[in-house]
Symmetry: none
Subunit: 217 residues, 4 copies
DNA sequence: AATGAATGAGCCTTCATTCAT
DNA sequence: TATGAATGAAGGCTCATTCAT
C-alpha cells in the first residue's frame, strides 16, 4: 500500500514527449551529459553554453539546436535528475510494507543516487532557486516543492490508515520531511557520516515524529 | 539551561569591526539597506552594484568605498540578517524552560522575523549557495550549515539531560532540524498556512522525534 | 516610336540562363516565391536562408543548390521583379502615341504592378541599397539607377523629335523622373491617395516640366 | 515669404533636449562623429558599435553610456544630419524672393551640404529604410517622408499666391519633388555632372512643372 | 569621502554556410 | 537532387570594477 515514489510529479511528459534517435538524439545526449557535469561542478552561472558544447564535443551552435537557451538546458537537466531519482526511489521502496520500510527505502535511494551521481542533487536544488524565472516564473516549482507535495500526498494516505498522527497539518509535515532529508543528507556527504548511521538516525527520527502518540499526551 | 541562539556564527566580528558613525557610516547603512531590498527582490545575480548605489542614493563609486566587491556586500547582508534572526530567536527563547518551549520559541522567532523582513531569509539562504566561491570558497559555510552546527550543539547539551534519545547521531539530527524548519516554513509562507498551525505541527513533530522512547522499542 | 520599356537592363541573361524544368525548376520557383514574400515582409537582413527554405517547404540545404548565397537569391528576386514591372510597363505603354500617353501609361503600370505585388518595389529598391556589395560592389547598379538610365535614353529620343526642351541636361532629367515617380508613389500608397489623382497630377507635372517653352524664356 | 526650410520637422527637441558639456559631452561628440564616418563608409549593417567606439577612441562600453543601442545611435546620426541640412537650406534660401530662387537655393544647399559631408545624405536616407523598426516602427518616418511633408506645406503656401497650378494634388507634388531632387542629385554625384548644370536643369524642370499654365492647354 | 564616466573582458545568442547521408 | 544537423565566427550588449576629478 505504501509504495509510491518520493517526490515527483507529472512533468515527465515534457521530457519524454518523443525520444528521437539517430544523430540528433546522440548530440542531445552528449550535450545533456556535458551540461550535467558542468552544472554540477561549476553551478549554473559559471557554466556557459559554450563550455557545455565544448565538453560535449560539438560546435557552439549545436547547443541552440537542442535547447532554446541556457535556461531550458538547465531545466532539462533538472527534469532528468528528478526522473532518475524517482526511479531510484521506486526501486528501493518497491517492496516496503511498512512506514518504516518506506522511509528507509527512500533514504537509501537518495544516498544511492547521490553515490552514483555525486553533486547532482545539490546542483539541481540549489541553482533552481536562482535561475531568474522566465516569463512563467511563478509557475515553476522548485524540486523541493515538488517533493514536498509528493510527501504530503503520501502522508495523507498513510494517515488514513492510522499510521500518522491525524492532528498534524499534513502539508506542513509533507514539506518538512524533504527539507530534513535534504539538509541532513548534505551534512552527511560533507562530513563523511557513514551512510548507515545517517539512514538509521533519520528513519527513526521521522518515524517517531509521525507516529500517533500511544498514550495520553 | 536551554537558552542558546538558534544558529549563530562567529562572523560578527567582520561586520561589527567598529561601528563607525558619521557620514561614512550613513552611506554604508543606506547601501546595506538598498542591497537588502534588491537582493531580496531580484536575487544576487540580478542585482548590480550600480543598482544598489542608485537605490541607496549615492554615487556608483561610493559602493566600493564601503565594500571590497559585490560579493563582500552580499556577505555583509547575510551576516546582518543572520545576526538579526539570532536576536529574534534569543528574544523568543529567553524564558523557555523546556525543550518544547525552546523549539516553539525558535519557530515563533523565524515566523516573526520573516513577517518583519519578508524574503530576507530565502534570499540569504538561496543565493549563498550560488555566489561562486572566492579563493577561500570551501571555508564559507552556508547559513544552513551554521544553523545545523548550532542545533547540533544544542541537541547534544539537551541529550546530556536525557531529554533526547541518545541513540541518535546528533550531528545528523542537528542538521535535519533547520532543514525541516526552513522547508516547512517556506511552504507556509507560499501557501498561506496560518502561522499557529505551522508552529504547532512543527513543534510537535520535532519534540516527538527527539524524545527518547519510553517503552521498549 | 515611343514604345520602349521603362527601365530594365541587361541582367536578364543571368536569371534566364536556361529555363530548366522539372523537379529542380519546381524547387527554385518555390524558393523564389518564398523569398519574395519574406524579403517584402521582413526585409533583406531579417530574412534568413533557413526561413526561405522553410516557407518554400524544402530542406535548408536545398537553398544552396539553387542560389550561390543569400545575396544571389535577393538579386534574383530583384531581377524578376524588374522584369515583371518592365512587362507591365510595356503592356500599358503599348499603344501610347504621345509623350503624355507614355508617361501616363508608365505611371499606370507602376500602380497596377504595385497593386498586384504590394511592397515588392519598395523591398527591391530599399534593400538593394544595403546588401553590402560583394567583390564587384560598384558594378552593381541600383534599380533606380537602371531606370534612370532607361529614362535618359527615352528622353533623348523624344527630345530629338522636339518634344522635350533641348536645353536640359538629359541625364539629370532622366534620373529625376524615376525619383519623383517612386517617391510620389510611395506617398500615395502610404496615405491612400486615389490612384487616379496621383496619376493625373504626376502626368501633368512631368509633361509640363519636359515641354519646351513655347514663348521666349 | 518663401523662405522656409527644405524638409525637416519638429524632431529637434529630442536631439537638443539638453546640450550637456564636459567630459561626457566630449565622448558623445566623438562617438557621433565616428558613427557618421562609419555609417557613411560601410552602412548601418556593416558597422558595429565596437567599431564606432574604437574609431572614437573610447572603450566598448562607453558607447552604451551614450546610446541605448546601435539603432538609437543611427537615429541620432540621422537627426543631426537632417538638422545640419536644414540649416544649410535656411542659409541658401534666406534671401530668395521668388519660387525660382527658392528652388535654386534649396538645390544649391543640397549640393553644398553634400560637398562638405560626402555620402551622409545617402547613408541617412538609404539605411533609414532598413533599420528594422523598433516597437514604434510605423511612427518613424523616413527622411524622405519628412521632406515630402515639408515641401507639401511649402507648395500649398505658394499655390495660395497663385504661383503653382491649383489643380495639382499638392501632397503628391510635395513628395515628388524631394524624390526627384534626391535621385538626380545621386546621379550627379556618381557621374560627376557639374553642379551648375544639374542645378540649372533641375530648377527649370521643377519651376516649369509647377507653373500654372498660362494659356488654354 | 564622494562621484559617475569610462572600461573591456565576457556573455548569450544568431545565422550564413557546409557536408554527411 | 534533396536534406537538415552541424558549425563557429561574429554580433550586440552587460556589468563588475577603476580612476580622474
Amino acid at each position: 500500500m505504501i509504495r509510491e515514489r518520493f517526490g515527483n510529479g507529472g512533468d515527465m511528459e515534457k521530457t519524454l514527449e518523443r525520444k528521437p534517435q539517430g544523430r540528433k538524439a546522440e548530440s542531445r545526449r552528449r550535450l545533456l551529459d556535458a551540461a550535467r557535469r558542468l552544472f554540477v561542478e561549476h553551478g549554473y552561472h559559471d557554466t556557459r553554453p559554450q563550455d557545455i558544447s565544448k565538453e560535449a564535443g560539438v560546435g557552439h551552435g549545436t547547443f541552440y539546436l537542442h535547447f532554446e537557451d541556457k535556461r531550458a538546458c538547465f531545466l532539462a537537466f533538472v527534469d532528468e535528475a528528478r526522473e532518475e531519482l524517482n526511479q531510484e526511489v521506486d526501486h528501493y521502496v518497491a517492496d516496503a510494507t511498512s512506514l518504516d520500510g518506506f522511509i528507509r527505502g527512500t533514504l537509501t535511494a537518495v544516498f544511492a543516487y547521490s553515490a552514483k551521481h555525486p553533486g547532482v542533487l545539490r546542483a539541481a536544488v540549489a541553482d533552481m532557486e536562482v535561475i531568474g524565472g522566465g516569463p512563467e516564473a511563478d509557475l515553476e516549482e522548485t524540486i523541493m516543492d515538488v517533493w514536498g507535495d509528493g510527501w504530503t500526498e503520501r502522508i495523507i494516505e498513510v494517515a488514513a490508515d492510522g499510521l500518522v498522527d491525524s492532528d498534524f497539518h499534513m502539508q506542513t509535515v509533507g514539506h518538512a520531511i524533504p527539507g530534513l532529508i535534504y539538509q541532513a543528507f548534505r551534512n552527511a556527504v560533507r562530513r563523511n557520516v557513514p551512510e548507515e548511521t545517517a539512514i538509521d538516525t533519520l528513519t527513526r527520527f521521522i518515524v517517531r515524529a509521525l507516529q500517533p502518540q500511544r498514550n495520553t499526551d
